[in-house]
């Protein structure tokens, strides 16, 4: 019931969305492709040593290109390899890759950047009200804090990689993230047995239950 394969969506599973976008221009498929590859390509870009701004620009340039040229892309059979290769060409400004480099690309693990099954359960059982509460909290963080939290707690990049891609010191990267977590912790403490506390307790019980039975 909790098999990873069923829950974690891999890039290759998006073939349906790719076809529906390429053939019919379906907009929600386009959004789904973007949403998936945004994480994956950001992860690869930063791992390859690019700055986070450049990575973002290359992701958007790539998707602008496929949006405008979808009618010419009907021949692409492996959308995953196509997207990753185009992205790296833009990122590294190279037209061709050596055989060795191409092999590296194909061997890239596709699920690295995806949430664990536990994280997916948390997502699923977080009520809309609590989610909007969290959102209002995240909205209060600076753009920089939000970006670093995304890179650290979602993409799972190291403090060294984060410091390089954002052109800050490791200490600044760490302090920025620490301050954001500390602030949220203080809010939870302040509100006593408020909705966030209740949620955290409930989630623990729920997950204990699911994972014991799986």
């Amino acid at each position: 019931m909790l098999g990873d394969k069923k829950i974690v969506k891999k890039g290759k599973d998006l073939i349906v969305d790719w076809k529906s976008f390429i053939q019919n221009g379906d907009q929600s498929s386009f959004y789904d492709l973007y949403s998936h590859y945004h994480d994956y390509l950001t992860y690869i870009g930063i791992k390859k040593g690019a700055t986070s701004d450049k990575t973002k620009d290359c992701v958007n340039d790539l998707f602008l290109y496929i949006y405008e040229n979808r009618q010419k892309l009907g021949h692409i059979l492996n959308h995953h390899n196509y997207l990753v290769t185009c992205f790296l060409r833009k990122l590294l400004r190279k037209q061709h890759f050596s055989a060795e480099e191409s092999l590296d690309l194909i061997n890239l693990e596709d699920t690295l950047v995806h949430p664990s099954v536990e994280a997916l359960y948390i997502q699923q059982y977080t009520q809309a009200s609590v989610s909007s509460l969290l959102k209002s909290y995240i909205d209060r963080l600076s753009e920089k804090q939000t970006k670093l939290i995304y890179q650290k707690f979602y993409l799972g990049l190291s403090y060294e990689e984060i410091s390089e891609s954002n052109q800050i010191t490791v200490k600044t990267a760490y302090n920025t993230i620490y301050n954001a977590v500390e602030k949220l912790k203080a809010i939870i403490k302040e509100e006593g047995a408020g909705p966030l506390t209740v949620l955290l307790t409930l989630l623990s019980l729920l997950i204990l239950f699911f994972f014991k039975n799986s």
Binding site: G25, N60, L64, Y67, S131, I138, I149, K185, I188, S204
Partner: protein, 393 residues
């Protein structure tokens, strides 16, 4: 190991690997550590959940804001968008030729088969016109067909003026800052009415019959919010700092500045949003779609379906003063019932898969319109007072 400050743990990759289940060795290490330190379980668990939730929320925010940037690039790219605007003009000219042919055809038919429309009680029904009721913030109702040209009312620094051509214009007459922000007006068109409203930001809204629009007399805040019931065609004036939002009970359409039509009558099963220029985002619950010029979204239940290359002329025909049909008989009769204020009674149920087409001015009497529909079809009509009977031929 956690010292005094549990938050210091986020500096340890092995702890984060445990939280996000990235490395089975670290997961094993921390699970064993927790078994030895049961008093720490509660706060470690809480921290773990918090980090996961923070990661997910910030991911949503970053990815959405980057996607919004992409949308902006798409909207300003010259490919596609431009060619579609030109093809629209081509369609208009073809349509102009078609209207002549179809009406000529209609006249021909009316001379030779008077049987298509039978009028009992000797009354033809005249078409609707520019009628609407303006409801002010204080609840006062103004019948716009009856007021004379000139200032209707001044409220909280806004002057509402009816111009010679019947349009309603909002003029901000006071110094900025004195204008009350929460003053809402509503314009309601009756069955058989239509109206053009000019909002205070320069946006124009054409309201079809049996519709209403609720809007603030002056827009303040982050969004320009209006509520639509029924059908309206919008020409939104560009203001990137303040997106325009049109909502009804089933969906929200968000735009920066563009031309589009929304059909959301309560008696129609599908809400249709059609884009003529620019980019709009249609959302309903969790579903959403970005539309490009020439596309139409259809919302039925909670799903949104996007259709390419719709006939834009069909969609905005009403606003330009004519009916253009290319649909099932029931759908056509719904339009007729709203414009002529009649009740439609089916003595024979039309085939829902059969498409009827035709084109005629909305200023003609009902009999002329019904003749066009009856031409080449298997139904005829009987008009009795305010009732139209659909009869098998």
């Amino acid at each position: 190991m956690p010292g005094k400050d549990i938050l210091q743990l986020i500096n340890q990759e092995s702890f984060l690997n445990y939280c996000f289940k990235r490395n089975s060795e670290d997961v094993k290490y921390w699970e064993e550590w927790l078994q030895k330190h049961p008093e720490q379980v509660k706060q470690i668990e809480e921290l773990k959940k918090m980090l996961i939730l923070m990661g997910q929320e910030s991911r949503k925010k970053i990815s959405q804001s980057n996607f919004a940037e992409l949308q902006h690039k798409i909207a300003h790219s010259k490919v596609d968008v431009k060619s579609k605007t030109f093809s629209l003009w081509k369609k208009w000219s073809i349509a102009a030729a078609a209207i002549f042919i179809i009406i000529a055809g209609g006249l021909f038919v009316s001379q030779h088969s008077g049987e298509i429309v039978e009028i009992v009680n000797s009354n033809d029904i005249s078409p609707g016109g520019n009628n609407a009721v303006l409801i002010l913030a204080n609840g006062q109702r103004v019948d716009l067909a009856k007021v004379t040209t000139g200032g209707i009312v001044s409220q909280s620094g806004i002057k509402i003026v009816k111009k010679a051509d019947g349009q309603i214009v909002y003029e901000i007459s006071d110094v900025i800052g004195k204008v009350a922000s929460d003053q809402y007006n509503t314009i309601e068109t009756p069955v058989g009415g239509q109206y053009l409203v000019n909002l205070s930001d320069g946006t124009k809204v054409w309201l079809n019959s049996g519709s209403s629009l609720r809007y603030p007399t002056k827009f303040v805040g982050h969004y320009r919010n209006v509520e639509l019931k029924g059908e309206g065609y919008f020409e939104v004036s560009a203001n990137k700092a303040m997106p325009f939002k049109v909502s009804n009970t089933r969906q929200t359409v968000e735009v920066l500045g563009t031309h589009f039509n929304i059909m959301a009558y309560n008696d129609e099963p599908v809400v249709k949003t059609t884009l003529l220029e620019g980019v709009v985002k249609v959302s309903a619950g969790k579903a959403n779609a970005l539309l490009q010029p020439g596309q139409q979204s259809k919302l039925a239940g909670s799903g949104i379906k996007v259709i390419d290359d719709v006939d834009l002329e069909d969609v905005v025909a009403w606003k330009n003063g004519y009916f253009k049909f290319n649909e099932s008989l029931e759908s056509i009769m719904n339009k007729i019932s709203r414009w002529y204020g009649v009740e439609v009674i089916y003595e024979t149920m039309p085939d829902p898969d059969l498409t009827y087409s035709g084109k005629i001015s909305r200023s003609r009497n009902i009999s002329a319109v019904l003749k066009i529909i009856g031409f080449n079809s298997d139904v005829r009509f009987k008009v009795d007072g305010k009732k139209v009977y659909v009869i098998k031929q």
